[in-house]
Amino acid sequence: MNYASRRLPLLDGPEKVSGGLRFAADRDIEGQLFAKLLLSPRAHARVLGVDTAFALSAHGVVAIFWSGNTPANRYNSSIWNERQEALEDERMFPGIVRHVGDRVAAVIAESAEAAEHAAKLIVVEYEDLPAAFDEVSALDNSGPTTGLDGAPTYHNPIATLSFAVGDVARGFAEADLIVESRVSTPKTHHCALENHVCTAIPETEGRVVVHSPCQSVFAVQIVVAKALGISTDQVRAVKTPIGGSFGGKAEPILEPLAAFFASRLRRPVTIRYDRGETLLGTRMRSSVIGKIRTAFRADGRILARETETLVDVGAYCTGGDHLPA
């Protein structure tokens, strides 16, 4: 064996320790435009109107996108395989925002500063809708948003799975002591040092190349194609050096947007999230609440155990429905 028991230095170690390795946000692409996203401050609201007139006249602004001028294609950003079936409730800019941090609009400008300045000039009118903030109350959700913006809302629970191994009933029947405990884990963010970032560059004949620190170039290709309503052979995905992901960059979030902006504007477009946007507008690990019932024999042997958990996958399905499996 050529590699077992051998210590090999990191291939790109020298580049990393000298600051020479260029991550996505370090690359300067000639002619690139910068996008600043406007994220929702509301937990659940219909976007009644997005007034971009004042923002559009700001210095350096090239375009502003929102639900009114972007594709309404539905997709699920967690797929990595074209034939995969998934609950498709995501859209580039939804007509109804479903969490604080959901996407409302994007300013595209000649500089990041110009885009950031103009984003503050967009005026949005929201109509607040009832919101559920915990798993238990959400279980009763019959979905007032069903059909309201063309988006499917999946009734809870979106997936269930039950299985048993061995004779559980007998274990509890024979128990000398049954102990029940509660368990919960909170939502946690992967919090990689590198914030989310993406650059898309238009190519000839409707093709686009997308550069991002992704976990799967195939996922980027497929999700971008779905969101834009184009075929996958028009999307080229390049994985840039990744500053940590831990699952957080597994699902293409900024890629469909950047690809659309670049294709529409015929210029490279870069989206760079700052730490606040990364924490608010990307992915989290689901939270779990549950109970565990354990059947003990008097000598301490565990005869049976029953675990029941409720998983909060967040405001959108993404990969949540295959969590139980």
């Binding site: 170690g13 990393k16 320790v17």
Partner: protein, 160 residues
């Protein structure tokens, strides 16, 4: 109104005209293409933007560019001993497995460099105290501490 500054960057003294509100991190990355330092938080919490200001580690995201007029700034790009050579500290990071994704690395090395310049023989406690302002989400810190320890005077003299 832009303000004029004269600053020494990685040993080279230059003059610039800067917007008063431009942060040192943005100035170095965008005006001088010194993209080794990273912006991870813009709050002084992650340390990925660490540079040396007159030999002392600082978060460049919390310094305004005009504040370094007349001073010396060193970034990770300035640590090389000669063309294509790495400094002993940089080599130690590679050899000890103290680098994984590499995003925290430039800031981490500059913080360590600042420590070693001021305390050539730090204990493990000194090292952890000096690097407490640099987050790493990949390595678990142990290999980083070992890498810096290997560069302490005591280790290099074969005493530790």
């Amino acid at each position: 109104m832009p303000i004029d500054i004269r600053v020494t960057i990685n040993g080279v003294s230059q003059s610039f005209s800067v917007d008063p509100l431009l942060r040192l991190s943005q100035f170095l990355r965008e005006r001088l293409d010194l993209t080794g330092l990273k912006e991870g938080c813009r709050e002084g919490e992650c340390g990925a933007c660490t540079v040396l200001l007159d030999d002392k580690p600082v978060n460049s995201c919390l310094v305004l560019a005009f504040q370094v007029d007349g001073r010396r700034v060193e970034t990770i790009e300035g640590l090389r001993t000669a063309a294509a050579e790495l400094s002993p500290l940089q080599r130690a990071f590679v050899e000890h497995g103290a680098v994984q994704c590499g995003y925290c690395t430039p800031g981490m090395i500059m913080a360590a460099e600042g420590l070693l310049r001021e305390n050539p023989a730090p204990s493990e406690k000194d090292i952890r105290h000096a690097l407490a302002g640099n987050l790493c989400r990949c390595t678990g810190f142990q290999t980083i501490v070992a890498a810096v320890r290997s560069q302490s005077r005591a280790s290099l003299d074969g005493v530790a």
